[in-house]
């Protein structure tokens, strides 16, 4: 084959391929639109059928043998399951069981390939499966596909399968950050039942690992179980790992228990600015009057994050706002700037301007606006 022949073949191949691409593009768009419409039509039909069945159960009605693997049926099932209660739930479970819906998705999940039907199956089980499928979901908490692990945990949380808590918590140390954050969200569904497994996990692991225990501590804070405060204080005092200390400070702030004040006062004296900055926020969240003098000293901290967080914390209290106004007249330019930012954030600048316009301004208002309008020598 000479060069010309090769050229002819190449041109032919390229143009045949282009022709096929063009055809598939135009035909494909039409097919895609039809498929979406058909899916929607089937979903609505299934919804109608399911609604009728739930309203007046008639177990002789056949819904068709193909519904088990039909994604439109699954969508209808997901749509309807949140609105059913009592005997309707039992009836829905009977319909699902009779047509082998869960068995079909379980079989797909158990396959090794391809990934799309497996993901689809995991979503189906997470959305619709009952407790009887919990062991299968437990097995897939260690699946090689991260999204399937997430779905398995979600499904277990939906049916409140408490043995899953330990299994999910145990995976904190080995999971990817994305899966770990989704696991954190999932554990919230279990509420305070997850608190002690999380505390136990932190106690055992906080000396060997950083990310897993830190995630567990954050989750404890978000669950909001105040019984965990003593344990968190103990962890804060015993850990030398800044990641864990920061998570503990954050959690204590969210829990908002005054019992944590002495420990937080100590961390506010830390050499690590990150701990001081987090403590300022936590102290503000606990919202105790005793926090105000501590936060006021934070306005003169060498680190700007600490100053900013202290000022923002003071702005949460009426008395703190008075201290911020005083700081505007401070000789420390850093404290002045931090105070001005916090006052602007809580709307004090606007309020002061309005009071000046209305003729009811205080000395603090006038000083604040004079400072705002002064030259912007704003370097922190």
């Amino acid at each position: 084959m000479n060069g010309i022949d090769f050229g002819r073949v190449a041109v032919l191949v390229v143009f045949v391929f282009n022709g096929l691409l063009m055809l598939s593009l135009i035909v494909g768009k039409g097919v895609h639109r039809r498929r979406i419409k058909s899916h929607e039509r089937r979903r609505v039909a299934y919804l109608t059928l399911l609604s009728r069945q739930l309203a007046a159960p008639d177990r002789s009605v056949e819904m068709g043998s193909s519904i088990a693997g039909d994604p439109a049926f699954l969508d209808a099932l997901i749509d309807i399951r949140t609105s059913v209660v009592g005997s309707e739930s039992d009836e829905l479970s009977w319909i699902v069981g009779r047509h082998g819906v869960m068995e079909t998705y379980a079989r797909r999940l158990e396959r090794r390939f391809p990934v799309t039907p497996r993901l689809n199956a995991a979503v189906a089980l997470a959305e619709v499966a009952d407790e009887s499928w919990a062991p299968l979901l437990m097995d897939h908490l260690g699946d090689r596909e991260p999204e399937i692990r997430i779905q398995a945990a979600r499904g277990l949380a939906r049916v409140k399968w408490t043995p899953a808590i330990d299994a999910i918590v145990e995976r904190f140390g080995v999971e990817t950050p994305w899966v770990r954050t989704r696991f954190e969200d999932t554990l919230l569904t279990f509420g305070s039942k997850a608190t002690w497994p999380l505390v136990a996990y932190v106690r055992v692991n906080h000396k060997f690992d950083s990310l897993g225990p830190a995630a567990a501590i954050r989750t404890i804070g978000r669950i909001g179980d105040r019984d965990a405060v003593q344990s968190l204080i103990a962890i804060l005092q015993s850990s030398q790992d800044p990641e864990i200390q920061i998570a503990a400070i954050e959690a204590l702030g969210i829990l908002g228990v005054p019992l944590a004040m002495p420990s937080l006062e100590r961390t506010f004296l830390s050499d690590d600015w990150r701990l001081r900055a987090k403590t300022a926020t936590a102290l503000a969240m606990i919202a105790e009057r005793e926090a105000i003098p501590i936060l006021t000293t934070g306005l003169e901290d060498p680190n700007w994050w600490v100053r900013r967080n202290s000022a923002a914390g003071l702005a949460r209290h009426r008395e703190g706002i008075r201290n911020l106004h005083k700081a505007i007249q401070s000789t420390d330019p850093f404290a002045r700037d931090a105070a001005a930012e916090a006052l602007a954030d809580v709307g004090e600048v606007i309020a002061a301007r309005e009071r000046i316009d209305a003729g009811s301004a205080t000395v603090d208002d006038v000083e604040l606006i004079r400072f705002i309008e002064s030259e912007l020598a704003v370097k922190a």
Partner: protein, 469 residues
């Protein structure tokens, strides 16, 4: 002898072109696999959980603005209604003279405040700082003119959150763009320093109150050609680069950056005509040279709509500016080109940038001169000439069609008429439009490669770009 030389130069040019198209085709096929997986993750991933999660990292949206009075309010509004748990908007008015600042003050009820401004990156002097009094968490930095990079640096200095979305003032952000982009950050917070997004032309679409109501294909040939060009870039190339961990460019219109990483490399380089390319490459170089683990990724489902030039004059200016930026970057990062120390980036993607982006216009221009000359001198026969032209056109068309095919799961152009229009433009863009672009890119080699001036893109405002009645 001369005839032989002409013939072989002709063959070499066509060979170069075929190799380039094969490289692009390989990237498109690989991108197809990446997009398919991404599509399933998007469909099944519980991304909405991030919206109510306290673990979602907060982000500052930074917008540099210079004479953007036509579209700034719509853009800020589109950004203020995105779905994300915690974010702020920081606009930097870079000494506009068209009333951009006044428009912002009025639209968002801004009031002058005094907040600490930390110049971690040196910028032109700041005149004043404003904060919104309404529901939108917006800060406006008013500074003296210093160019786009300088304005971005000022806004990044003023940002409060650990991640910044660097974008433009003439864009509409898709409602889920932030959460989809930030999902990639949450996947690996330690290593992820940047997430690039998918940019699409907004011309021809209907926009109202900061929302994209219906996407559409623009009427004008110039804008329509760019739709195809953006599809080729953002669907057929970048997913593959990202999967190879060698993304050499995160577009300036949509880049989520770790703020501390920007400070590490000293921010955007003022005056650079391709400041986005420069920053991305400096990030790669800094992290590889210092052996710091990192990743720069691309997320195709994080979509941002932008206004593209719809006149030849504006397009010419834009392309010349872009190519001058590329030439500067090629010079600045020449030590990385074909350097195995920089892995796939140095040996494949950045090397391909050099071969197929920087050199392409020059070699293509040589081809136009040499191939017809060789034909008229009798060095090439008619059949060879026709085969060469057909092969070049066919290969170019193939990549456009593959890009259109990859767009299918996104469903923005699902009407057969839109697809047909884009196929037609894929067929005819090689007759005139392509040559024009090559000519501008060759011209770009002659002239200044640094300026503090903004590109003179004439804005109509994103809300005024719908199909004319």
């Amino acid at each position: 002898m001369i005839l032989e030389a002409f013939r072989w130069i002709g063959y070499a040019t066509i060979l170069y072109f075929v190799v380039m198209q094969l490289y692009l085709f390989a990237l498109a096929v690989y991108s197809g696999f990446v997009l398919r997986r991404n599509y399933h993750m998007r469909r099944f991933g519980r991304i909405n959980e991030m919206l109510s999660s306290q673990t979602s990292p907060p982000i500052s949206i930074v917008i540099p603005a210079y004479n953007e009075v036509a579209g700034i309010v719509d853009s800020v509004r589109s950004m203020s209604i995105v779905s994300y748990p915690r974010f702020e908007i920081v606009v930097c008015n870079d000494g506009s003279i068209d009333g951009t600042l006044e428009t912002l003050i009025e639209a968002f009820n801004l009031t002058q405040v005094r907040i600490p401004y930390r110049p971690d990156i040196e910028t032109a002097p700041i005149r004043a700082i404003y904060r919104g009094r309404g529901a939108v968490d917006i800060t406006v930095i008013d500074k003296e003119n210093g160019g786009r990079a300088d304005a971005l640096n000022a806004a990044i200095n003023a940002a409060r959150y650990p991640y910044v979305l660097c974008t433009d003032a003439d864009v509409v952000l898709d409602g889920k763009a932030l959460v989809r982009g930030m999902q990639r950050v949450v996947e690996d917070r330690e290593r992820t320093i940047c997430v690039g997004g998918n940019i699409r032309p907004i011309n021809g679409s209907n926009v109202g109150l900061g929302h994209l109501i219906t996407p559409g294909v623009p009427r004008g040939m110039i804008a329509r050609m760019q739709v195809l060009e953006y599809l080729r870039t953002f669907l057929a190339t970048r997913p593959a680069w990202s999967a190879l961990s060698a993304l050499p460019l995160v577009s300036g219109a949509f880049g989520i950056w770790k703020r501390s990483a920007i400070f590490d490399v000293g921010g955007y380089q003022p005056g650079h005509l391709g400041e986005d390319l420069d920053l991305t490459m400096r990030m790669h170089r800094y992290h590889i040279d210092n052996a710091i683990p990192y990743r720069i990724v691309y997320e195709p489902s994080a979509v941002l709509w932008t206004e593209v030039p719809d006149t030849v004059r504006v397009l010419r200016r834009q392309r010349i500016r872009w190519h001058r930026g590329l030439i500067t970057a090629i010079r600045d990062f020449r030590s990385m080109t074909f350097n195995p120390r920089y892995g796939t980036l140095g040996m494949v993607t950045w090397a391909a940038f050099f071969l197929f982006e920087f050199l392409a216009p020059f070699l293509e221009a040589i081809g136009w001169v040499v191939v017809p000359t060789a034909y008229f001198l009798g060095a090439l026969d008619t059949e060879t000439l026709i085969l060469m032209i057909l092969l070049a056109l066919g290969a170019g068309l193939m990549n456009s069609l593959v890009a259109l095919w990859l767009d299918e799961p996104y469903g923005f152009f699902n009407r057969p008429i839109d697809t047909s229009r884009l196929i037609v433009i894929a067929l005819i863009e090689n007759f005139g439009l392509r040559q024009m672009t090559v000519y501008w890119r060759v011209r770009a080699a002659f002239g200044a490669r640094k300026t503090h001036a903004w590109g003179n893109m004439e804005r109509r405002g994103v809300a005024n770009l719908g199909i004319e009645a």
